[in-house]
Amino acid sequence: MLDSPGFTIAVRRMPPSVEDLRSTTVADDPIQRRDLVLLERAREGELDAFNDLVVCYQDMLYALVVRMVPDRDQASDAVQEAFFNAYRNLESFRGGSVKSWLSRIAINAAMDTQRFRKRRPAEPYPELEDETWQPPADASADPVTASLMAERHRALNAALARITDDQRTAIVLYDIEGYDYAEIAGLTGVSIGTVKSRIHRGRLALRGLLLDRMDLFRG
């Protein structure tokens, strides 16, 4: 049974292949060095330096937040609030990765938005059926692969928008952003066991929603 071709043994999860958002301590990283210089200038009151950071990371943070808060207007508000919070708390930056620091602020803003939605339940999230998601600029994939990836992404996003906020947050942070269980537990304020449970139940829910389209993801 175990040697059947359709059976895959689970292995310890590899780090995300694209880019790890967690803090790195590589002082030689030119991007991190640039970020630190901009942040220092922003701390000295230079608004343009802070706005340079905004330009650098607004797309990345928006992509992160819109996965957690699939309503585009609410996601935009959350990102704007995240940048406000970052500017207000420039002095609280204690070193490390500026990208990671901004990501955490954006994640908190997204979770605040989710809590606000919970208090005032309105309509369910609209499905993100749009063509604006693009592969990274350095990806030189052929059109068929790009189209397949876009289709997979649309299907995943549509399913993600239909699971609970807690499960979606845990899955986005673990599968897409590359945080580990302990980091997610720290960010969301729950135990590691709860994080694991949310991820597993969320994946089960996703599988139920994607059951008819699983062929899209195989092969």
Binding site: M1, G6, F7, T8, A10, V11, R12, R13, P16, S17, V18, E19, R34, E46, L47, F50, N51, D52, V54, V55, C56, Q58, D59, Y62, A63, R72, D73, S76, V79, Q80, F83, Y87, R88, E91, T132, W133, Q134, P135, P136, A137, M149, A150, R152, H153, L156, I171, D175, I176, E177, Y181, K196, I199, H200, R203, L204, R207, L210, L211, M214, F217
Partner: protein, 290 residues
């Protein structure tokens, strides 16, 4: 006799035999001589589904995520047994691994931000920690800095969705001009606040006069106690010291009370007037700037 001997006829195949035969033919890959009934596969699926209903799917999900690899050996063996023996659990496991992998492959997709999130000067002013008036005064006292050149996008970054607003160069201001500008920008709220405070003072002063037993305010230096005494007429304040029923202390206390109320009223009117002037000036300046 021999004619009467007949070989027993082979027994009719039972359902178990049919199932075993079809399973054997399926395993050997040869086409079965006897076609399997259509509902046989459905029955098998139903049976598998019934067995699977008792299985712990979350355990399989944890196993697929690799979350059981280190710390729960018993759970790992349970999950492995489920995946090995149950076809539904095996499919579930494979699908969960596929979904996780699909998520990771789409992690690099980016989306253009729906708006430009850069902060304006007003945003920055509002968000800076500290008291706004103190900050303005400190900024006014600070030496004039050259206006920075229009900023350029940092290298190796995504293209901004909107073009940056170029910074306009402004002539340097003198110290007095900067002080005036610092407080001039807050003239309108300051004027409003002064008018409000003045009106409150006028109201309080008027109410204190109205609350007095005599009702109307008395002239400066007039002793209300003496005035309200039976048989007393409008005695001049200057005579209070010579009156047998009043000593000098009483007279001074009464006159001080009246003076304080007039002072409150006067100051309130003055504050309200200053506020009105500030409001008028800010309005005129706004009209000029338009």
């Amino acid at each position: 006799m021999a004619d009467q001997l007949q070989l027993p006829e082979p027994p009719e195949p039972t359902e178990q035999d049919e199932a075993a035969e079809s399973a054997e033919s399926a395993e050997s890959g040869e086409p079965g001589e006897r076609p399997e009934p259509v509902d046989r596969g459905d029955e098998a699926k139903l049976a598998a589904a019934a067995r699977h209903a008792l299985h712990d799917e979350e355990l399989v999900a944890a196993y697929a995520a690799g979350a059981l690899e280190t710390d729960e050996p018993d759970e790992v063996s349970r999950a492995r047994a489920l995946v090995e023996r149950c076809s539904v659990c095996r499919d579930l496991h494979a699908d969960l691994v596929t979904i996780e992998a699909a998520h990771r492959t789409t992690a690099g997709l980016v989306v253009a931000a729906a708006r430009d999130f850069r902060l304006t000067e007003e945003d920055a002013e509002r968000l800076r920690p500290g008291v706004a008036v103190v900050r303005r005064a400190a900024a006014a006292a600070a030496p004039a800095e050259p206006v920075p050149a229009p900023r350029q996008a940092p290298p190796a970054q995504p293209v901004p969705t909107t073009q940056p607003v170029p910074t306009q160069a402004a002539p340097p201001m003198s110290f007095l001009e900067r002080i005036r500008a610092a407080f001039g920008s807050g003239a309108r709220p300051l004027g409003g606040a002064l008018v409000a405070a003045g009106l409150v003072g006028i109201l309080v002063g008027s109410a204190s006069f109205a609350a007095m037993p005599g009702g109307a305010p008395l002239p400066l230096g007039y002793d209300r106690q003496e005035a309200s005494a039976p048989g007393a007429t409008a005695a001049p304040a200057a005579q209070g010291g010579e009156n047998g029923s009043n000593d000098g202390n009483d007279f001074r206390a009464g006159s001080m009370t009246v003076d304080l109320r007039f002072v409150v009223l006067g100051v309130s009117v003055g504050v309200a007037l200053i506020g009105l002037v500030l409001l008028a000036r800010s309005r005129r300046r706004a009209r000029e700037s338009d």
